[in-house]
């Protein structure tokens, strides 16, 4: 049965309050990104400069690159507004539209997802895909199906990563000097070696605390779990995001990774910890899996979304040929955000009576089946152990 709020009129919407609403949410979102941006600048610019490996101009580049993402995506949206709306081409009108559209955010996130040495023309191309194709063509802010930044990142990942790597890739001027890195990111090592071994996956990069702090090679914004946690904590306190979405997502990746490790004979907690601290798991958990437009809006929907996301991340990462897995799984799930939202809304209102129970059962069985499939396939890749019969079929 549907539930209704009771009380006396007038009913003021929370969104009309001064310190609430999408504008405030997006401002909070940008504030939450500040520690991530600062750490990216520190790790790839300031620290490398202090090491004596780059000059002052190079030191400024990481910050410049991130800001360029914001400027380019804002500019593109401005042009789009100008071209598509002949009635409202005034500077003030466009400026207002840009402000309501949070034009800078896709570019900002996009720059944080890309490697330091991404050529600017690649960033412009990615920003075009993110802003124009991923967002504006669908109707602008609030109407997009895919996370715009992620779409831009995915297109670059599938088409131009060779160009990015040729231009320098993810390694900053200090990291290229570290022999133990051997030109590979932690996830790259796992993908190429298919071996779960602390000495191979973690030791060349220091300890797990390096992974937590973020002093390992990786895209600009994804390496520091600590900075991301600061941002996430701020968003949770400001009630911009729900705490359980990132927790369930990261928890699912953690548990499944531990099981895969255990199947290969490595029962230590280092491997699941490594798994959640590498790649974009933490960044996606806080800044993308919680994005209000492209993810479900109700509680049960968010829970199932996070569960599916965790399982798919592990599936793509450990079974598929995608070392990262996070971006692909998120884009894939963006497609199903609306159906999940609809099904889980029914579950929420109908509880377990028909058809809520049925929907709940279907979603639960799907998550479990995917998880089992992931474990069986990944288990056989990292160990000689084969599950009889099942392994032959799937």
């Amino acid at each position: 049965m549907a539930r209704f709020a009771g009380g006396k009129a007038p009913f003021l919407r929370k969104y009309d309050e001064k310190d609430y609403g999408t504008q405030v949410i997006m401002k909070d979102f940008i504030i939450a990104l500040v520690p991530v941006i600062l750490f990216a600048w520190y790790k790839n610019g300031i620290q490398v400069y202090l090491d004596g490996n780059i000059n002052f101009l190079e030191m400024l580049y990481p910050l410049f690159f991130i800001l360029m993402g914001a400027i380019i995506s804002t500019t593109m949206e401005g042009i789009f507004f100008y071209v598509t709306d002949k009635e409202h081409r005034g500077a003030k009108e466009i400026s207002q539209k840009l402000s309501l559209s949070f034009a800078a955010i896709p570019g900002l996130i996009l720059a944080l997802l890309l490697p330091l040495y991404t050529p600017i023309w690649v960033l412009i191309f990615a920003a075009f895909v993110a802003t124009i194709i991923g967002k504006m063509i669908f109707g602008g802010f609030g109407h997009n199906i895919f996370n715009p930044a992620l779409l831009g990142y995915a297109v670059v990942g599938f088409t131009l990563m060779g160009v990015v790597n040729a231009a320098g890739g993810v390694f900053n001027a200090s990291e290229v000097l570290i022999d133990s890195y051997a030109g590979a990111t932690p996830l790259g090592v796992l993908a190429s070696g298919k071996e779960i071994d602390y000495n191979i996956l973690v030791k060349p990069y220091g300890t797990l605390s390096n992974f937590f702090i973020g002093t390992i090679p990786g895209a600009l914004g994804e390496t520091s779990a600590l900075a991301i946690l600061f941002g996430g904590l701020y968003l949770v306190i400001r009630k911009v995001i729900k705490w359980y979405t990132p927790v369930i997502y990261v928890g699912t990746v953690f548990v499944l990774s531990w099981m895969i490790g255990a199947l290969s004979g490595e029962t230590g907690l280092w491997f699941p910890t490594y798994s959640i601290l590498t790649g974009g798991v933490m960044f996606a958990a806080v800044f993308m899996a919680t994005e209000p437009v492209t993810t479900p809006t109700n509680v049960i929907g968010k829970v199932f979304f996070a569960l599916f996301l965790g399982v798919l991340t592990v599936l793509f990462r450990f079974v598929g040929n995608l070392p990262e897995g996070v971006g692909t799984s998120l884009i894939f799930l963006n497609i199903f955000a609306i159906p999940i939202d609809k099904f889980t809304a029914v579950i929420r209102t109908k509880r377990f009576s028909k058809p809520g129970g049925l929907y709940f059962g279907i979603l639960t069985v799907l998550v479990i089946l995917l998880a089992v499939y992931t474990l069986v396939k990944a288990g056989s890749m990292y160990t000689a152990f084969q599950i009889p019969f099942i392994g032959w079929v799937i």
Binding site: G78, I79, G90, W121
Partner: protein
């Protein structure tokens, strides 16, 4: 213009922003990428300089020096008459924290088994000593070059330039590579003498003659009779020397001091008065067996045991002990049967008619070694009997 600006100001600004982002951002990112190579080069130079400082074990700064090559000929290993001039590929001054020069490093290319043995020689300019050496690059056969172990490299550490006999012991199996180091070290001393006014110790002496001793009683223990003029007073010494070029017994003259003995020991192997590579190792009067050794390919010993008849005027049997590798992967000139085909060919021919083959293509060094042995055997028989075998 005003109308245009009013109508298109916004789009112009946005377009300009995008173009500026493309152009200046592009230049900036290009610059960043180009800097990767610059930093790689800087880092390589820094690492190289650090390796030079580590080699010298002193100082904190490296400055490239502009020293040039000089004319100095050394024998190409394995050749009696072919010489070459080492090449100075780089020279560096090592400075301390007060910018005072404390050491110099010469990087010299010499010839071993192949051309291109590039080694850095670090010299302490205060003590005139070789501090240490560092191999920069080489094209030597890896399996042989690896036999140059710590014991070999230890010889260079703190080696004084004041030594009259300025040489190192070669490593068996890697003799040519060892000689490359030896030539480089001597060339480094020559350069150092020129660039830093160091006086290379010079002792006057001359080997007048070296003849073999074929006396049946003493020819194994005292194989060489050497005549030398030495010292400022032109002292004459005639003495027996053994196979290791140590003075065994004085025939005439006085015992020289140890410096001269070291010098004789060092220089006798290179004299052309006699074949100094081939030795009579033993002679058994009962069995009438005489064993002659020589150094052949790779510095490895080839040993031939000759059995003589009762009159000691003819060879009745030959046993060759050899580990020569003329049919190895490294020698594609050799087209004959596998080892010991060359040894067998020489033995059979010598036993049949007392002659020996010319050199066999691809096994020249082995063949020349055997020829030297048979020649010495002929000389022994001739000395004892006044005739051949």
């Amino acid at each position: 213009m005003k109308i245009f600006m009013k109508k298109y100001l916004q789009i112009t600004i946005f377009s300009l922003l995008l173009v500026l982002a493309f152009v200046f951002g592009g230049i900036y990112s290009r610059y960043m990428t180009s800097q990767i190579e610059v930093h790689a080069e800087e880092q390589a130079i820094a690492q190289f300089n650090q390796s030079l400082i580590n080699l010298a074990g002193m100082g904190s700064k490296v400055v490239e020096a502009a020293y040039e090559d000089m004319e100095k000929e050394y024998l190409v290993p394995g050749f009696a008459n072919l010489t070459y001039n080492p090449e100075l590929s780089g020279s560096y001054k090592i400075l301390d924290e007060n910018n005072i020069e404390v050491a110099v490093i010469y990087i010299i290319i010499t010839v071993g088994r192949y051309d291109g043995v590039e080694v850095a020689y670090a010299i302490n300019i205060e003590t005139d000593t070789l501090i240490d050496v560092l191999v920069i690059s080489n094209k030597e056969t890896p399996a042989y070059f690896r036999t140059l172990d710590f014991g070999f490299y230890d010889q260079f550490e703190n080696k004084t330039f004041d030594d009259v006999v300025f040489t190192i012991d070669a490593v068996s199996g890697s003799t040519y590579s060892s000689l490359a180091f030896d030539a480089g070290m001597n060339y480094a001393r020559e350069l150092y003498a020129r660039d830093y006014g160091f006086e290379i110790p010079n002792i006057v002496y001359e080997i007048n003659s070296v003849i073999r001793n074929f006396d049946l009683e003493t020819f194994v223990e005292k194989p060489f009779i050497v005549n030398i003029t030495y010292g400022p007073e032109n002292n004459i010494l005639e003495a027996y020397f053994d196979n290791q070029y140590n003075l065994v017994e004085i025939i005439s003259g006085n015992m020289p001091d140890q410096t001269y003995l070291d010098l004789f020991k060092n220089d006798l192997p290179t004299t052309t008065f006699a074949d100094m590579k081939t030795f009579i190792r033993s002679y058994d009067e009962v069995t009438r067996k005489i064993v002659i050794d020589t150094k052949a390919y790779g510095g490895m010993t080839v040993s031939v045991e000759f059995e003589l008849n009762e009159n000691l005027d003819s060879v009745t049997g030959i046993l060759i002990t050899s580990t020569q590798t003329y049919d190895s992967d490294y020698n594609d000139l050799y087209a004959g049967a596998p080892a010991p085909a060359v040894e067998n060919a020489y033995r059979n021919q010598y036993l049949s008619d007392g002659t020996y083959h010319d050199s066999i293509a691809g096994a020249t060094i082995t063949g020349n070694g055997l020829i030297r042995i048979f020649t010495l055997m002929d000389d022994v028989l001739e000395a004892w009997n006044g005739g051949g075998n």
